[in-house]
Amino acid sequence: VPVVISDNLVLTLPQAVGDAPNANNPLIGWRNLVTVGNIGADSEDPASPGLNLANAMTHQLWRSVSLAVQYVTVTHGAVDPIDYVGVAGHNFGSGHITVRLEGYTAVDGLGTPLWFPLVGEFMPADDTPLLMRFAPQSLVGVRIKLHPTTVRPLAAVVYVGPLLVLQRRIYVGHKPMPFAERVDNVVSRSDRGHYLGATILSAWNEGAIQQNNVESEFYRAEVEPWRKQGVMSDYPAEVAYCWPAGDMDVSNQLANGMMQFSLNVQGIVS
């Protein structure tokens, strides 16, 4: 049974036997097994194909042309365990589209995958990035089952892989991405002092990920590969699809080898 602890963060099982579900530490979904060659959608607009889900760009959408029950399937064939599927730039919430996540490890005698549920059916509350987390396990493939009602599904990015769970929790002073909006606007006034109105020229979401007292082994094994690759990051209770807004600032913090780092990010929250 899934545990929904935020609008769009869905946890199913502990990460490992004996662990309690933990959504307190920041979750970073940067490892991604999705490629153009292993993702497909049952239905697609030729001008907005399912292949668009395999690149990180959020303006290139996959658009379904069907209202039937349908699947977005990733046949990644990885041996290493995976524990999350992320979807950004979707309309599953506003479109009242039911979502279910399935995986498979074996096929029947005809070669048909034997799908089993990873995350049960739920309907996202809104269109903020969706992070579906499940117990780490080896899967040949995963598929997102979508059950539309009146709106055809669309999405921009799908990530599948193992999560990075940061060692430390969020500190006081952290600005959640959904509320970290910055605005560039102009206010106009005439020669005679009349108010001529105001115009927002641009707006974006920008925040920072900061961690202190990070064990040096953890940093080198888990954080450094992320720093080199890029980012799709997610916070408990506030999920965002982000990208770096600069270099990660890393330094040794304590005499015992503890490290600290900070990364400014920009992202989309819907």
């Binding site: 030729p46 001008a47 907005s48 292949l51 395999a54 109105g197 115009t199 020229l201 974006w204």
Partner: protein
């Protein structure tokens, strides 16, 4: 106080361009966006792994038994949309089995159409192992149009380019095949054919299935791309300034627009065509994909440049609006592409567009056009006939009758049959004189008594190539009939810049012209008092600090010289001894 959320879009109409490396193909599975159009029995089209192809995979098309002619249509155009006519396609092909003698091997099909099954029409190019061949399919039957020897071995990868374009009276076809990399493409085409008898329409693009009507054969394709030529089929590319409220789902756009600078044009009252408005658009380069493919191969604007999609004069629109408006409700300014630069080291890419009157610039448009005919022999002052050279130039460039300028010395009236001219010497105040073989015979532009609206319309459309839709001729005629019921005539003996000619008219007739980039029209108005109903700009409705008066003493007129009554058009309109004079 609510704030409007600004939206800015830039749209360009560019030649249609599609490319696939079959990156998502799975072995022995159907291939996305490829559809068999006819003869679907005994034919297979499916994914195939082929290590030598760019993505290690491709599409296999094969005939499993005797069957009807078959073609595979790629996904453009989707059902119901316009088809494509002038087009160039490139494919990487591999023939794994030899085509039976007399049948078609796999290759490219252009302008494909399907009537009632199995009726097929279209043009195809194939390589059957010994020859590269051009075919025309009509009512399902393939006719060989042309062929040239070119050996292609079984299981050899070869590149093929196949073009079709409409020409006067028919369709020109041309093709080439080469080995190695796509960049090894030779400059010369191997085989060409001008088809003046049949299919001049448009259709879809794809592959022809080999072996029709023969037995089992297979061809593979590991790369396929096509583009329309000369803007015959365009699609709109839309870009937007990035903001988290841009409704990209409803108005698809690439959010890479960094800045837009619109320098408004200047209207020059009664003087000339004024200053051209200029739109400078700067984009940020980024990874680019072709419908999901090729993300790791080149960036978006680098691809734009490499693909030669920029064509001077194509339409560009700047769209301003606020959130909540539909695209149709937003303000749209129309320009034409002028130049581009980038991607630069900072990954920026800049496009410059201008108003359509730029097409009338003196270095781009001249009236009359240069004539290439010369006198074929010496003539004296009394000669009344001469033959033009080179042979055939008469029918190619000259009307049956008109006025000509011989070597810039004499204006003559002529009547023409073939290359032979019958001359009426010494017209328009010029004196008959001797001319030598090789003197240029320049066709003059004779403008009979006409309104300025008629003259400017002719100059812009016929000589500057301005789209007739830009010119509201009925409005111009009404303006002239109301405020300038005067006719003008002129003989223009040599190619002269259209901007210069129109500017002379503007000065002589007291006009002003300007491009209305929102209405997408070129306006013409006779100089007259400003109506009392005109909109008033004052210090209540203008932005603080934006109005700056400036004195222009250099434009004050203290004395007027008038030249009139042209004595000899060869001396030019501004040469005093060519005209009468009054101060």
């Amino acid at each position: 106080v609510s704030e409007a959320q600004a939206l800015t879009f830039m749209e360009m109409d560019l030649d249609l361009y599609r490319v696939t490396r079959f990156e998502d193909v799975q072995n022995a599975k159907p291939v996305r966006n490829w559809a068999l159009q006819a003869g679907v029995t005994n034919v297979a089209a499916q994914g195939v792994l082929q290590a030598s192809f760019p993505a290690g995979r491709g599409i296999s098309v094969s005939r499993t038994a005797v069957g009807l002619p078959s073609m595979l249509r790629w996904f453009y155009p989707p059902p119901g949309s316009p088809t494509i006519r002038d087009v160039s396609a490139v494919a990487l092909l591999r023939y794994t089995t030899a085509a039976p003698v007399g049948s078609i091997a796999g290759g490219i099909v252009l302008r494909g159409l399907q009537g009632p099954s199995p009726t097929l029409t279209g043009y195809a190019c194939d390589a059957n192992g010994t020859h590269v061949r051009l075919w025309e399919f009509s009512s399902g039957v393939g006719d060989l149009l042309a062929e040239v020897e070119f050996a292609v071995a079984q299981n050899e990868d070869v590149w093929m380019r196949f073009d079709t374009a409409n020409i006067s009276g028919g369709v020109t076809l041309r093709a080439k095949v080469w080995r190695g990399a796509i960049s090894d493409e030779p400059a010369e085409f191997l085989v060409s054919f001008d088809d003046t008898t049949a299919f001049e329409g448009s259709g879809w693009v794809g592959l022809v299935v080999p072996g029709s009507p023969g037995p089992t054969v297979e061809a593979r394709c590991g790369y396929f791309r096509f583009r329309s030529l000369f803007g015959s089929t365009v699609e709109t590319h839309r870009h937007t300034m990035a903001a988290n409220y841009v409704p990209i789902r409803d108005i698809p756009a690439t959010p890479d627009l960094v800045s837009v600078a619109l320098n408004p044009g200047g209207i020059s009252l009664g003087s000339d065509l004024g200053k051209r408005s200029q739109l400078t658009v700067t984009m940020q380069d980024h990874p680019g994909s072709d419908f999901g493919e090729g993300v790791g191969i080149g960036s978006h604007w680098a691809k734009f440049r490499a693909r030669g999609l920029f064509r001077r004069g194509q339409a560009l629109s700047l769209v301003h609006g606020t959130l909540g408006l539909s695209l149709a409700e937003m303000e749209r300014r129309h320009c034409v592409l002028e130049s581009f630069s980038g991607p630069s080291r900072d990954r920026s890419f800049t496009i410059v567009a201008q108003d359509p009157l730029k097409l009338a610039d003196n270095d781009r448009a001249q009236a009359p056009r240069i004539s290439n005919g010369v006198l074929g022999s010496n003539i004296d002052a009394a000669a009344v006939s001469v033959t033009l050279a080179p042979e055939g130039i008469g029918d190619a460039e000259y009307p049956p009758a008109g006025f000509g300028n011989i070597g810039g010395q004499e204006i003559v009236a002529f009547e023409r049959v073939g290359d032979v001219l019958t001359l009426d010497r010494g017209r328009f105040g010029t004196t008959p004189t001797d001319h030598t073989a090789g003197d240029r015979f320049q066709l003059c532009l004779n403008i009979p008594a006409s309104t300025v609206a008629t003259i400017i319309n002719q100059l812009l459309i016929d000589y500057a190539g301005v789209d007739a839709n830009y010119i509201p001729l009925a409005d111009w005629n009404l303006e002239c009939a109301t405020y300038l019921p005067q006719l003008y005539s002129r003989l223009i003996p040599d190619p002269t810049g259209v901007n210069k000619l129109i500017s002379e008219l503007i000065e002589q007739a007291g006009l002003m012209m300007w491009p209305d980039d929102i209405a997408q029209l070129i306006r013409l108005q006779v100089l007259r008092p400003i109506p009392t109903t005109a909109f008033e700009y004052n210090d209540s409705n203008t932005l603080a600090g934006t109005i700056q008066p400036q004195e222009q003493p250099s434009t004050r007129i203290t004395q007027i010289w008038t030249y009139y009554g042209v004595r000899n058009p060869l001396h030019g309109p501004t040469v005093p001894h060519g005209r009468r004079f009054r101060q």
